[in-house]
Amino acid sequence: MEITVTINESDHAGDVEPRTLLVDHIRRTVGLTGTHIGCDTTSCGACTVLMDGRPVKSCTVLAAQADGAEVTTVEGLKTADGLHPIQSAFTDDHGLQCGFCTPGMMLVGASLIAENPDPSDDEVRWAISGNLCRCTGYMNIVKAIRTAAARTAAAASESNGS
């Protein structure tokens, strides 16, 4: 069936089998391999993308269900000025070890900060509770998300001139 999915602000039209999963469509058809396939059983969150702004597990959504939707993958986080604050914070705070869970962690972190500009440790831990890091590097993931929140808030107050 013919679908058009807006991925990172570009429209991608294509013909998919109904059983094609969104994650496979993103990786194989569109060619964006930043979205990972981890457990493939709705447990690990490595395949997290934002679908119409909400983080979801793209291994558990049919590509056809994303027809007409706006999807953001990790590749879509970067801004005109360079890295997204969540990306630079993960770099600075050593928020990754092997990097496999990182795209999902960063998308969930970015989505959390958009809703809650100053999350506590507990709020961050709750938000990432659907994403597994098998390096168990959670301490620095939490730290990086909070750093990104603080930098985002500081940049916002600077641009407001306050």
Binding site: M1, E17, P18, R19, T20, L21, D24, D40, T41, T42, S43, G45, T48, M51, R54, P55, V56, K57, C59, T60, V61, L62, A64, Q65, V108, W126, A127, S129, G130, N131
Partner: protein
Amino acid sequence: MFPSRFDLIVAETISDAVQAKADAGEGGRFLAGGQSLIPMMKMRVAFPEKLIDINRISGMDAIERSNGHLHVGALVRHADVAASDAAFGAIVAAAPWVADPLVRNRGTMCGSVAHCDPEGDWNSVLLATGADVVARGPGGERPIPIGEFVDGAFTSSLAEDELVVGLRIPVPAGRSGGAYLKLERKIGDYATVAVASHLELDDSGAIAAAGLAMTSVNPINTKVVDAEALMVGQQPSAELFAEAAELAAAAAEPRDDVRGTAAWKRQVVRTYTKRGLAAAAQQAEGS
């Protein structure tokens, strides 16, 4: 992994969806959030020939109160329930404990109820609050009390051509409170044990209505009717809740498994029943 081949029918209206299901017969399945069905299809435990996607039907995404009921549409996601001001008591308490945050953004409350997973969280909450499932078939709509809706593990009493279009949960007229206490090994796991509590108080502070149901300690979600009957007409007290907890523990027949021993789970039932009822009473007294 990917599912076996199927035809996808994207329904635009409820009647189209119902008609498509009637045409498809046994080989048809409805798809809402898909957070249970899609994994089952990937594992080839489920292999519908025709999948009827209801996500594009408009008007089913509201959670709101009217005519003394909380109405939850078929496309209300768990995250919407958690964020809703209209929800109350045990419903508010349970919403954040269903699956994990990512699944809650996609999975629907009605889908979860219709799935009849014997270890699902919502059906205990619905048993405690006395909810109806609203089904629509070619002949119109009918409410089905949750106790009659669940026929067994993964089996509902829905007719083949009926779609769950919503839930109808009575909103208590007076003071009320509720709780959902869930023990799980990790976020997203099934409950090791969970207990849903619901209390309504009359003007004198006595219990006017009581709901108590358990998850994961019997072959299906279980309403503890003798404990409910015991509490009605009584003043809330620690002694009363301890007595209710004994009845709940007696009604639980958990099994030894990877999540713990039967004896320990029964003890958790006891503790969670006491704590849950106390929390429900406290919430009701402050409401």
